[in-house]
Every structure is written in structure tokens, then in C-alpha cells.
């Protein structure tokens, strides 16, 4: 499977590189001096990061609505006979799987940067499985809840927030499958590279958003 791929660096990533990850990233992807129009990869990653910035504002507007409603309606938040979303072991495991997938997808991207295509494919497949596990888990959780979309404020906020996040997880998984399929085509390396980096960024973004949603929806009990 590794035919035609040049091996540049086989060694594992040293700690020093991780520590300098953010400064290097900023140096590469924020061209204050300009005149780098030919760096197509850097340009595209910059654009995608800017897009994620505005995407996070959509989530922030939902979270603002949630917090605002929750603070002003703390006593009649739950309609009678409804317990709200529960912090069960099932949800915790689901969260752990989603969050740890960030630590699988980043080595996958790094493996591709170092032209280790096989390692990339295995780790990438593992991320897809973890994302799919989360989606299925959330579907099971939704079907077991005792409230619906129009059951008071708790239903409105819970389903819209988790649903919008779930839509992003689904998009991420579809992107990952696309990149995996693309990696089996010949001569795909240069073309697939931006897609892989962008998908990785997107996946980190989805995970970070989940940290906030999880703390707000499950841990913040009235």
C-alpha cells in the first residue's frame, strides 16, 4: 500500500514539536507580511479556520439563549413529571469516546504529513468508528428520553443544542469517510492533504463544542 510514498521521518513526534505546535501554526497560517499567494495549503487552512470562528458564534448564540432562559426560568425549567437529561454512565462513556477521538485524529494527520499512509488509514478508520459510535449512542439516548422537542424549555433547548452538534458530528464523519476513500486513489496525496487538515481542525472544533454543551446540559443541574 505504501508504493510511491516517500518516507521522510519515521521517528515518533518529539515532545518539543508538540510544545511549539501553536506558535509554529500561527507563524505558518497568519501571514502578516503578505505576498504568499502561492501557498495554497496555508491559504485554505486560514480560510477554514476563519469559517470555524464564525461557526462557533452560531453555537455561542444557542448557548447564550440556553443560559439566558435557564437563569430566568430556574424554578419552572422542568415541567411536572419530567426529570430532564440525566448524567448516566452511558452519556459519560459516549463523551469519553468522542473526546478521545481528538487524540486519535491528530496522530493520523501527522502520519500523513510524514508520508506514512498505512498508519494514517488505520488511525483515520478508528476515528470514523469513534464518531459513528457517538452518533449511534446519541440516537439511543434520544429515543430513551421521556420528553420531546416541544416539552417545555428543557425539550426545546436540549434537542436543538444536541441536534445541531450532532449534525456537525455527522458532517465530520462524512468528511472523514470522503478523505479515507480519497486516500485509496492514485496520486491523491497533494490533493487530499488540505482536506485531511481541514477535517482534523473541524473534528477538534466539534469536540471542543461538546465540552461546553456537556457541561451545560448535563453537569449544570438546577
Amino acid at each position: 500500500m505504501n508504493r510511491g510514498v516517500i518516507h521522510v521521518d519515521e521517528s515518533p513526534i518529539p515532545l518539543e514539536r508538540w510544545r511549539r505546535y501553536l506558535p509554529n501554526w500561527l507563524k505558518r497560517y497568519l501571514p502578516v507580511r503578505g505576498g504568499r499567494a502561492e501557498d495554497h495549503h496555508g491559504k485554505a487552512i486560514f480560510g477554514f479556520t476563519v469559517f470555524l470562528l464564525s461557526e462557533s458564534i452560531v453555537f455561542l448564540s444557542f448557548i447564550f439563549t440556553y443560559v439566558g432562559l435557564r437563569l430566568t426560568h430556574s424554578e419552572n425549567w422542568l415541567p411536572p413529571g419530567i426529570s430532564g437529561p440525566e448524567l448516566s454512565n452511558f452519556v459519560i462513556i459516549n463523551t469519553i469516546v468522542l473526546l478521545s477521538s481528538s487524540f486519535v485524529i491528530q496522530p493520523a494527520e501527522n502520519a500523513l504529513k510524514h508520508h506514512r499512509l498505512n498508519k494514517f488509514r488505520w488511525l483515520w478508520l478508528m476515528t470514523i468508528c469513534m464518531g459513528t459510535y457517538f452518533l449511534i449512542g446519541q440516537g439511543i439516548e434520544w429515543s430513551n428520553l421521556d420528553f420531546g422537542l416541544s416539552t417545555g424549555l428543557v425539550g426545546s433547548t436540549f434537542y436543538v443544542l444536541t441536534g445541531f452538534h450532532g449534525l456537525h458530528v455527522l458532517t465530520g464523519v462524512i468528511l472523514q469517510i470522503t478523505m479515507l476513500v480519497r486516500s485509496f486513489r492514485r496520486g491523491n496525496y497533494e490533493k487530499g492533504h488540505f482536506g485531511v487538515s481541514a477535517t482534523t481542525l473541524f473534528w477538534h472544533f466539534v469536540d471542543i463544542v461538546w465540552v461546553f454543551l456537556f457541561s451545560l446540559l448535563y453537569i449544570w443541574q438546577a
Binding site: G34, G35, R36, S54, I57, L60, S61, L69, S156, V160
Partner: protein, 558 residues
């Protein structure tokens, strides 16, 4: 400042250019930023005409105190769509169009950063606009709750109608918002990555600074409107209760999310207009732009401050007093960078020999009218005054002084100023001046009476009023019809000059911007070779940087 015309220019241009400038490509899915820019500008101008027609219907209704021309639901629908079209389908996308055309040329780039994305963001716009206007055909008419669509009014729809005007309104505004966000990603990336060698941040024209500030606002604030509208759509159609007061929801949260975008939207509209003033005023007064750096930074300053002012629209919405005071302070703070801008324009034309061509007339007219619009804005930022005139015609007069008398005048200045560059033809100067004077007089006749009307207490969004308000209303309506007529010489001038106008040279105004260093119209890749920038952007009259135009060589040889 003469309109040079040289037949040599047409012969010099490469033949492929002539075939590429075929009119058909303006109807195709092109990825050329210049074609997309023109597509944006022409499409939004058609929407401007539709929005203007709606405005004239509103003024026709208001000429008499009784409600006799239109029935009330239709009147509500008219002012809702008038506001929506003028904001979301005229000024904001027109600015996207002119920025699309100019920013790569001004930066010395071959194209935008993501040409395909650019084309897609344009092609979302016409279908969403047509969708929005088509809601007039629905049995219950279009959305009737104003362009801000406050719940619970916007949730009061006749039962059993899944597809209603409000639903269509939300869907089309979300689509237009997606188009704007894609455009903003493209602009910000272009300005950061596509600058020519030597084009540092402080060699960018102020227009580019303004576009950067405005598009950063689009990125940071527009998603909050999208989020609010998604929640409103869920309330309207899927039974959620975010904004329904009867079911524990909170409509005030919608107002917060809405104004978090829609107040900065004013600066998204105004900043490119300020940028246009900064291009036109130096060129026609042959002076370097006064205080270039402070004007550039002031653009960013306006953007930053404007993120923190949204509550001044909600002084009467049960806002606690400490919050009112806080937001009164931040709202008045906007006047500081804005004042820097106005001071810079004044100092640029100070003691210079003015060349009063049409673009300069529009720029000076717009900048002068901004004084009245800006001062009434500071008045409205003061809590006691705002509570007094809240929801009256004073507010309507104030923002029309900004959006029409300042921004739309700046847009006309831009159209006349860059017309030779875009089309390769000169416009007819005499008709341009006729257009300016009709517009200037018509606009002031229309919008000035609204200020005294508001102070006397006439409430907005009504189709019938107390007879004592009729005098000023008749003046405003006549002014409105004059404004409608004033657009006719403009259209005739544009079409006539496009077909039969004199050939334009590359740099008819002897301006210093990079966009004037290429041919008119520019070739497919903008520049024959990417220029290396070694000069500040506005070095009019500085002998150190004086350049001789290629077109001047031709003149000399003849």
C-alpha cells in the same frame, strides 16, 4: 482632470481580451472576481429598484392622513420588505460586489483567494432574493412584522399554514446570511494572503481597510442572527418555545441576538462607504489623504467598538439602568473613530483645488450629509432623548440619512468613479450632474421632514396619522417621488455610456491606486505582471513618487 480618450488604447489591448469581454460571460457561472463583482452590482441594483418602488408606494399612502391607498396588511408587508430588501439585498451585497471587483485589483492580486467559493456565494443571492419577493404571492401575503421580525409578533401567523410569509422570510434571510459568511471568509483570506510583494498593511488603500473591518464584523456578528433565525424558525414551525412568552420563552433574548448582528450591520454597510470617500476625495482634490494611518486604524476601531453597542436599540425593552448607561457610553464612543474619519475627509479637501466631477459631487454630498446622520445618531444614543423619540419618525429620519444620504450616495460616487475602469468607457458628465442634483435635493426633501415629524411625535410603521402631521408628510412624499424620478437619468446614462460612451484611458482621473495601473477594463488576470509596491497609497502631489502614465506617453507622441 480631463477625460482623455485615446484610440491607441483599444488597439493596444490584446484581441483575446475583446472576446473575453463578451457580455455573455456576465450571465455565466464565472469564477473571475471582476465578472462576479459586476454580477453582484447589477443584480443588487435591480433589487434596489424594487425596494425603491415599495418605498414610493409607502409614501403614496402617507400623503393623506387616512389609510386609503393600501390595506393595512399590505402596508405592513410593504415596509417589511422595503427594509429587508434595502438592507439584505441592496446595500450589503452591493458592497460585496464593489469590494469583489476592487479588492484584488487594489492588492495587486490575480483573483480572490477562493474563486469557486466566490462564485457560489454570488449565485445563492438571486434565488434567495426572488424567493423573498415571491412571498407576495402567498394567500396571506408576505411577512408583516418589520425587517427585525420580533417575536411574538412574528409568531402570530394564521393557523394551518405551514408555508407562510414569515417562514419564507426566515429561510431567505438565512440563505443570504450563508452567502455573506462565505463572502466574508473569502475577503478576509484574500486581504491576508493575496497581497502583492511590498503591499504591507499600511500601504493598503483605506477602502481595503474598510472592507477588512466590515467583513470581520460579518464573520463575528452575522452568525448570531443566523442562530436567532434558526431558533425563530423552530418556534414558528416545530413547536419549540424559545421566544414564546406564554410558554416561558423569552422574546428579549431574540432582541439581544438580533441586534448583536443588526447594529454592527450598519457599520458593515457604512464602512465601505467611508472607504469610497477616502478614495474619491483625495483623487479629486489632488491632495494626499489626510492622516492615512489614523483613518485606516479608525476603520478597525469602528468595527471593534460597534460589537459592544447593540443594547442601545433596547433602551425601552425593560433593560436595567446600569446596562443602559453602559451602552449609552459605548454607543457614544463610536463617534470618536467616526469623527477621526470625518476630520480626515475635511482636512483632505481643505484649501485644495476641487475638481467637481460627478463622483466628487456624490462623495462630498454624502460626506456632508453624514454629518446630520451622525449627529442624530449621537443624540439617539443618549438614553433620555432615545426614550422620548423611540419608535418615532426621528429614528426613521436618522437612519435614512445614514443609509440613503450617506451610503447610497457613496455607492453612486463609486459607480461613477470606477465606471471607466469597469467598462472601459466614460459616462456622460452632464447627465451625471443632473442625477446628482436630483438625488441630493430629492433625498433631503424626503428624509429631513422625518426629523421634525418625529420630534412632534409621529409614530413609525403606521398607514394613517393625525391630520396635523400632514404638511411635512406631503413634502416627504413629493421628495420621495423626485428621488424615484432621479434614478431615470442614471439608468439612461449607464446604459447609453456602456454602448456609445467615449473610450476611457487606463487612468482617466490620474489616481494613484494600483487598480488604475492596469488596462480599462482589466485583463482576465488583472495585471500583466504582478506589481511590486514601493509607494504609499495616496501620494498625490508628492514629486518623489510622481509617475508618468503609459497613456500620457501616447498623448505626448501624438
Amino acid at each position: 482632470m480631463t477625460h482623455d480618450s485615446s484610440e491607441n488604447i483599444t488597439e493596444d489591448r490584446e484581441p483575446q481580451n475583446e472576446s473575453e469581454n463578451n457580455w455573455r460571460r456576465y450571465f455565466s457561472f464565472s469564477t473571475d472576481h471582476k465578472v462576479i463583482g459586476v454580477q453582484y452590482m447589477v443584480t443588487t441594483f435591480i433589487f434596489f429598484l424594487i425596494g425603491g418602488l415599495l418605498a414610493m408606494l409607502i409614501r403614496a399612502e402617507l400623503i393623506t392622513p387616512q389609510s386609503n391607498v393600501l390595506d393595512r396588511p399590505l402596508y405592513n408587508g410593504l415596509f417589511t420588505l422595503h427594509g429587508t430588501i434595502m438592507i439584505f439585498l441592496w446595500i450589503i451585497p452591493f458592497n460585496a460586489g464593489i469590494s469583489n471587483y476592487l479588492v484584488p485589483l487594489m492588492l495587486g492580486a490575480r483573483d480572490m483567494a477562493f474563486p469557486l467559493l466566490n462564485a457560489i456565494s454570488f449565485w445563492i443571492l438571486p434565488p434567495s432574493g426572488i424567493l423573498l419577493i415571491s412571498s407576495f404571492l402567498l394567500p396571506n401575503g408576505t411577512a408583516q412584522s418589520g425587517w427585525w421580525s420580533y417575536p411574538p409578533i412574528s409568531l402570530q401567523i394564521p393557523p394551518g399554514q405551514p408555508i407562510n410569509g414569515e417562514f419564507i422570510w426566515i429561510v431567505s434571510i438565512v440563505l443570504i446570511g450563508i452567502s455573506s459568511i462565505m463572502g466574508a471568509v473569502n475577503f478576509v483570506t484574500t486581504i491576508f494572503w493575496m497581497r502583492a510583494p511590498g503591499m504591507t498593511f499600511f500601504r493598503m488603500p483605506v477602502f481595503v481597510w474598510s472592507v477588512l473591518s466590515a467583513q470581520l464584523l460579518q464573520l463575528i456578528n452575522l452568525p448570531s442572527l443566523t442562530g436567532a433565525l434558526i431558533l425563530l424558525l423552530f418556534d414558528l414551525s416545530f413547536g419549540t418555545q424559545f421566544f414564546k412568552p406564554l410558554e416561558n420563552g423569552d422574546p428579549i433574548i431574540y432582541q439581544h441576538l438580533f441586534w448583536f448582528y443588526s447594529h454592527p450591520a450598519v457599520y458593515i454597510m457604512a464602512l465601505p462607504a467611508f472607504g469610497i470617500f477616502a478614495e474619491v476625495l483625495p483623487a479629486f482634490s489632488r491632495n494626499p489623504l489626510f492622516g492615512y494611518r489614523s483613518l485606516a486604524v479608525a476603520s478597525l476601531g469602528i468595527a471593534v467598538v460597534s460589537i459592544f453597542v447593540w443594547v442601545h436599540h433596547m433602551f425601552t425593552s425593560a433593560t436595567p439602568s446600569w446596562m443602559r448607561i453602559l451602552f449609552m457610553f459605548t454607543s457614544m464612543l463610536v463617534a470618536v473613530p467616526t469623527g477621526v474619519k470625518a476630520f480626515g475627509w475635511t482636512a483632505t479637501v481643505w484649501k485644495s483645488k476641487l475638481h467637481l466631477e460627478t463622483p466628487m459631487l456624490f462623495a462630498m454630498g454624502g460626506a456632508a450629509m453624514f454629518l446630520l446622520g451622525g449627529v442624530t445618531g449621537v443624540m439617539l444614543a443618549a438614553v433620555p432623548f432615545d426614550i422620548h423619540v423611540h419608535n418615532t419618525y426621528f429614528v426613521v429620519g436618522h437612519f435614512h440619512y445614514i443609509v440613503f444620504n450617506t451610503i447610497t450616495m457613496a455607492i453612486f460616487a463609486a459607480i461613477y468613479y470606477w465606471f471607466p475602469k469597469i467598462t472601459g468607457r466614460m459616462y456622460a458628465e452632464g447627465w451625471g450632474k443632473v442625477h446628482f442634483w436630483l438625488t441630493f435635493i430629492g433625498a433631503n426633501l424626503t428624509f429631513f421632514p422625518m426629523l421634525p415629524l418625529g420630534l412632534q411625535g409621529m409614530v413609525r410603521r403606521i398607514s394613517s396619522y393625525d391630520p396635523r402631521y400632514q404638511g411635512w408628510n406631503v413634502i416627504a412624499s413629493l421628495g420621495g417621488f423626485l428621488l424615484g424620478v432621479s434614478i431615470l437619468p442614471f439608468i439612461a446614462n449607464m446604459i447609453g455610456s456602456l454602448l456609445y460612451g467615449q473610450r476611457a484611458v487606463n487612468n482617466p482621473w490620474h489616481a494613484t491606486g494600483l487598480e488604475w495601473q492596469t488596462t480599462s477594463p482589466p485583463p482576465r488576470d488583472n495585471f500583466e505582471e504582478i506589481p511590486v509596491v514601493k509607494r504609499p497609497p495616496y501620494d498625490y502631489g508628492d514629486p518623489k513618487y510622481s509617475v508618468i502614465e503609459p497613456s500620457d506617453y501616447h498623448q505626448g507622441e501624438k
